[in-house]
Symmetry: C2
Subunit: 184 residues, 2 copies
């Protein structure tokens, strides 16, 4: 019961390691947020140890959220500065709404892109499924260089392999023989 980790009573002060564990961040990341002016400890111990309260957890979660929305740490800083600066009237509110709207669009784009990637992966997996029969024909070099008809065009995921090795290996040139007949 006497754990080496600081006890987490309500209103207990957290040390940087506690805050890191609570938020899933590293100590270094938290130091960085402080360097960039995004987060400050409530106080310091006599020895210089950072002491945080519960609001720091909320702030780090907020940073993580905005990071997921594509904000850089500098952008978060300027949002914070703008907000707590001179003017926080209705037009500042409108700025924030516009920013959220913009990020909403970008987030929806990201969802669509990832759904497209999901389809590519499923295509690639279906393609490799038909490869199993290639591998069983006793050849040493399997499906990637085979000429078997897979019933459709190569998915991008597989076509990238088939265009040959990156750094040219003179020892195996004959394996690279692909038709570039469809420049899409």
């Amino acid at each position: 019961m006497t754990s080496p980790i600081s006890t987490d009573h309500p209103n207990t002060t957290l040390r940087v390691g506690d805050l890191a564990r609570r938020t899933g961040k590293t100590v270094r990341a938290i130091h960085l947020y402080e360097e960039l002016g995004l987060l400050e400890p409530a106080s310091r111990s006599r020895g210089g140890f950072r002491q945080y309260d519960e609001s720091a957890v909320e702030r780090v979660r907020w940073i993580e959220l905005l990071s997921g929305l594509g904000f850089s740490l500098q952008e978060m800083k300027s949002v914070l500065d703008h907000w707590w600066g001179a003017d926080r009237g209705p037009e500042a509110m409108a700025d924030l709404r516009a920013l959220f709207q913009k990020k909403l669009g970008e987030t929806r784009d990201a969802i669509r892109r990832h759904q497209q990637l999901e389809l590519e992966l499923l295509e690639g997996l279906r393609y490799l499924e038909t490869c199993r029969t290639c591998g069983q024909q006793g050849t040493t070099h399997a499906c990637v260089t085979c000429e078997q008809d897979h019933g459709r065009d190569d998915p991008v995921l597989v076509a990238g392999f088939k265009t040959g090795p990156a750094t040219v290996r003179p020892s195996r040139p004959s394996l690279v023989r692909i038709d570039d007949s469809n420049p899409s």
Copy 2:
């Protein structure tokens, strides 16, 4: 008609700028892919200019795809090396299938995360909608510091603002007065 851009006939050789335009990458990025062994020009001109064929476009698109799936450039290199190396038997095929399966899971996680972010943004926007009335009450500091009941708990997106400025400004301490009564 006599454009300064290299003509793009089928089987025309592309210069690095052409490849960049075709793929939406920068010239620097393409140089980097070459440094890391992911892409080689088909040849060089007498003066040292890189000359690419159509397969380079496909390779760059493949790099972009894998990048979207969370591969580092080094990982792509090792995939490529592994593939064009000694063994490409059925077990190499199984490796690739396992990799695709893993990335499929991660991609679906990413979709879920972004859908959650979408909800957070919609929450935040709904919250700010009720703020309009706050701003109309003649106060100089609007909704962020107001005590009006918004009908629900603050969304994380808004709560992050309300925990006070990052770098402490002694000139405005009284505005920061938030209850930490729910340590979730």
